[in-house]
């Protein structure tokens, strides 16, 4: 099984978000970055498990600038064989998807893995874009996968339940919680990662289809109204008359 795992870099969850002077962008000073958790914990680990069970290879792919190499090396330390970075900055989802599709086409992978979404912009769209560009099957928000030869039985999360679907390679899939258990890289993995190939390739021409015009911070929350625990009738009254939610 030849597999490609697409990973993105996102600000760490606890990052305080601040805007620049004219609100045209974020203030990136002091932001800590991590590998997108869905890519790292679920997509990458399940790909490695499949390789361990049945052989094959796991290649990491990131579309981004040289600063992203640290995140890519972490993926190699967790166990991927090699990595590709398409050298680009920004561009938006469809631009990124076109870069991934070009690499996927060249490499001829059986499974292309994604996270269910990036935790910064919550797009949940790049995987489906790549599948469409390659004209292959895509299963989004998958929480379980079993391979049987070239056929996979996949569970995907739907509103209030699950759907079980069958797909054949080649296919694209986005991983959600349940797909695998997070792996922490060990010392040996970290040492080996330094010697694994990380190939940097140039981006293909593609237009940016979207751009962020401006950012805003959400309105500050008004102070909490504390309610006397002995008086739950008062809370019900406020929910009914003031908040108008019941």
């Amino acid at each position: 099984m030849k597999m490609l795992v697409c990973v993105s870099k996102t600000p760490e969850t606890t990052t305080k978000i601040q805007l620049n002077g004219d609100h045209s962008d974020l203030d990136y000073s002091g932001v800590n970055y991590i590998m997108n958790p869905y890519d790292e914990w679920y997509a990458l680990v399940r790909a490695l498990e499949l390789k361990e069970a049945a052989g094959g290879s796991v290649t990491i792919l990131n579309v981004g600038p040289a600063d992203n190499d640290a995140v890519i090396r972490k993926g190699l330390a967790i166990g991927a064989d090699d990595a590709i970075r398409v050298d680009a900055t920004g561009g938006g989802s469809l631009f990124i998807a076109k870069q991934i599709a070009a690499q996927a086409k060249a490499g001829g992978y059986d499974i292309i893995w994604f996270g269910k979404e990036t935790i910064d912009y919550n797009g949940s769209e790049v995987g489906a874009m790549v599948a469409e560009l390659l004209d292959v099957a895509y299963v989004g928000e998958a929480s379980h996968l079993e391979m049987n030869g070239t056929t996979a039985t996949v569970t995907r999360d739907i509103e209030g339940g699950i759907e079980i679907v069958e797909v054949s390679t080649p296919f694209a899939i986005s991983a959600a919680k349940g797909m695998a258990e997070q792996r922490i890289p060990n010392m040996r993995g970290i040492m080996m990662a330094k010697r694994k190939p990380l190939n940097v390739v140039a981006a293909e021409d593609a237009a940016a289809t979207t751009s962020v015009k401006s950012y805003e911070l959400p309105p500050a929350k008004t102070a909490v109204k504390l309610i006397d625990p002995e008086n739950m009738e008062e809370l019900v009254r406020l929910l009914h008359e003031e908040a108008k939610v019941i």
Binding site: T13, T15, I17, Y38, S93, L94, K116, I119, D120, N122, G123, S124, E125, G127, A128, M129, A131, E132, L133, A137, Y138, G140, E141, S143, T153, D157, I158, E159, G160, G161, E163, I164, V165, E166, V167, F171, K177, T209, T210, S211, V212, K213, S214, Y215, E216, P218, K221, V224, K225, L226, P229, M232, E233, L235, V236, L239, H240, A243, V245, I246
Partner: protein, 318 residues
């Protein structure tokens, strides 16, 4: 023209479908054009979508549409858009939508905004707002292409009636063979799924164990609410994984979120801080959740929840 894909579950429309048609009608009004709705497969009462502002409703029925397949549905929606001359395509940001937005954008070479939560602005271009960085900021995203694809977050705008039922026209589009085969669909019966729930009661580690969940369930039953939980609670198996809300779980935006025995860690807030009203019950006055709450009760949840349940019942009894 604005084309709204209105998804039916088992042939029927839920409130979310009315929301997305309302949204489409308002978007069309802002652009000075009309809004049409597209339904796929066998649906009852499709013409009813006219009440929410669709000037026409089209139905595409084919055996291939009986179960969900991303490439078949994409061909259907993109094909209909091309045939009708619709340039703005709107769908819901639910599990179906998340499988389609990217495909539609790639197929139509369109800019897309997944998870929008406000009507697009049309002064000086076309831009749509969405919440980013776990609700810590709002981005106004410009779409720079001829075709535009938007998915609407559930419970973002109120349903509005602005018309009356219309007749349904059928439409036909060439469909490819499915690339996925659905073996089984399992849905919990009778309860509103979390992403669609307007009222949610949630419990955390403060509940101490699964045997204590009755206090959460009783309150949820009295309200007609759906139950949820924090991540550690799902991780240790006190509650099923689909109840886990937060950054790594389900993101929700109900009208009312009641959290009991949950500290309010940033990763938990990430999935719930778009709720319209938040009530926090925690015995620790320093719990960070109180900063994100509208109403707070500093007390032992085992005392407060049954009392709140009784007060809700009394309120409902009038």
């Amino acid at each position: 023209m604005v084309l709204v894909f209105a998804e039916a579950t088992n042939g029927k429309f839920k409130k979310a479908a009315h929301e997305v048609v309302t949204y489409g009608a308002k978007t069309a009004a802002a652009l000075g054009t009309e809004c049409v709705a597209l339904t796929l497969g066998d649906v009852t009462d499709a013409g009813d979508l006219g009440r929410f502002g669709a000037s026409k409703v089209y139905n595409l029925s084919a055996p291939e549409l009986a179960t969900f397949d991303g490439s078949v549905y994409t061909a259907a929606i993109a094909g209909a858009a091309r045939q009708l001359g619709a340039k703005v395509i709107i769908l819901l940001h639910n599990s179906t939508g998340k499988n389609l937005v990217g495909r539609l954008a790639a197929r139509l070479d369109a800019g897309s905004v997944p998870g929008a939560n406000a009507i697009p602005s049309t002064d000086g271009g076309f831009s749509v707002r969405k919440s980013v960085f776990s609700g810590k900021a709002i981005a106004d995203v410009s779409i720079n292409t001829d075709y535009k694809v938007i998915s609407l977050s559930g419970n973002s705008i109120p349903v509005e009636e602005s018309g009356s039922a219309v007749s349904v026209e059928s439409i036909s589009v060439d469909l490819p063979a499915a690339k996925t085969k659905v073996l089984e669909t399992k849905r919990a019966e009778g309860i509103t799924p979390l992403p669609e729930a307007e009222l949610v009661v949630s419990g955390g580690r403060g509940l101490k164990g699964p045997e204590n969940w009755g206090v959460i369930q009783d309150l949820a039953d009295a309200l007609g609410a759906t139950t949820a939980c924090s991540r550690p609670v799902a991780d240790v198996g006190w509650r099923p994984h689909h109840e886990h809300v937060g950054q790594t779980g389900v993101a929700i935006r109900p009208n009312l979120y009641i959290a009991a025995g949950i500290s309010g860690a940033i990763q938990h807030l990430a999935g719930v801080n778009s709720s319209k009203t938040i009530v926090v019950i925690n015995k620790d006055p320093e719990a960070p959740f109180f900063k994100a709450a509208d109403y707070g009760v500093v007390a032992d949840l085992f005392d407060v929840l049954p009392r709140l349940t009784e007060a809700i019942k009394a309120h409902k009894a009038g």
